[in-house]
Amino acid sequence: MPVGVFIFLGVVAIISSLGVVLQRSPIHCLLALIMTLVSIGALFLALDAVTVGFLQIIVYVGAIMVLFLFVIWLLNLQADEAPTGGLGLKFFATIAVAAMAAELFIFFSKTRGAMEAANVAPGYGSIDSLAQSLFGQYLMAFESTSILLLVAVIGAVAIARRTIPQRERGPTKGTPTR
């Protein structure tokens, strides 16, 4: 990976992930998150993980983010008046985040080695080599994810459907339409 590509993608990823945390409107946060996911996907491609990089774009940006977008649209979420918590929360959160950042940076700075083009086998990161692992060594885990997805679909439908009677719903702002 050329150094310029890494610096460009890294700066885009960090700025847009700061945008997720710092912006007030949920839709702007979501757009910043999509930008972060695209730049991380491009980093995957630059790291010779071609299949995973395209899966990142298709699954995350194409499916999961559209789900988020639909929920923003469904709930008609507006910009927060008070996006952050109180001063005490901010104080302790800053200390905790700074401690964790220092810990992670010290830990990860011990990582040795630089990216050389030569030290991967031909076909590394292709669909073929991913499938060899997925349907060989990790077959049981792969089959379990299908059960996980089935359970998640049933659970999501069961949670999100309307079962609570009108009288137990408490005070609402407007008249809900059925």
Binding site: V20, V21, F44, V71, P83, G85, M115, E116, Y138, A156
Partner: protein, 102 residues
């Protein structure tokens, strides 16, 4: 010629993870907290792909595949919970959801 060191990629992953943790801790909108969790999952994915590249093994990428699957399941269930909360309480502010708080 200068090449990209693996520790730079790990540092980028650590930075994005830290920003995600800060988002969960500081923001009060449960929707944005949920997005910050997705940010953390992606930072970990980046670390996995970096280390898979360093080891020259496909195992890290297979784990990234599973993390994406679990993230999809988590997004479906989590957004269903957010819809359910919003329908009953008309809010997405975590500070107003204190029914079980002592």
């Amino acid at each position: 010629m200068m090449t990209v060191s693996y520790s730079w990629l790990m540092a980028l992953s650590a930075a994005i993870f830290t920003i995600g943790v800060a988002g969960v801790l500081i923001r009060r909108n449960i929707f944005v907290m949920f997005m910050s969790i997705e940010l953390m999952l992606n930072a970990v994915n980046l670390a996995f792909v970096t280390m898979a590249r360093r080891m020259g093994s496909m195992d890290g990428q297979v784990i990234v595949f599973f993390v994406m699957t679990v993230a999809a399941a988590e997004a479906a269930v989590g957004l269903a919970i957010i819809i359910s909360i919003f329908r009953n309480r008309e809010t997405v502010n975590a500070d107003e959801l204190k029914l079980m708080r002592w």
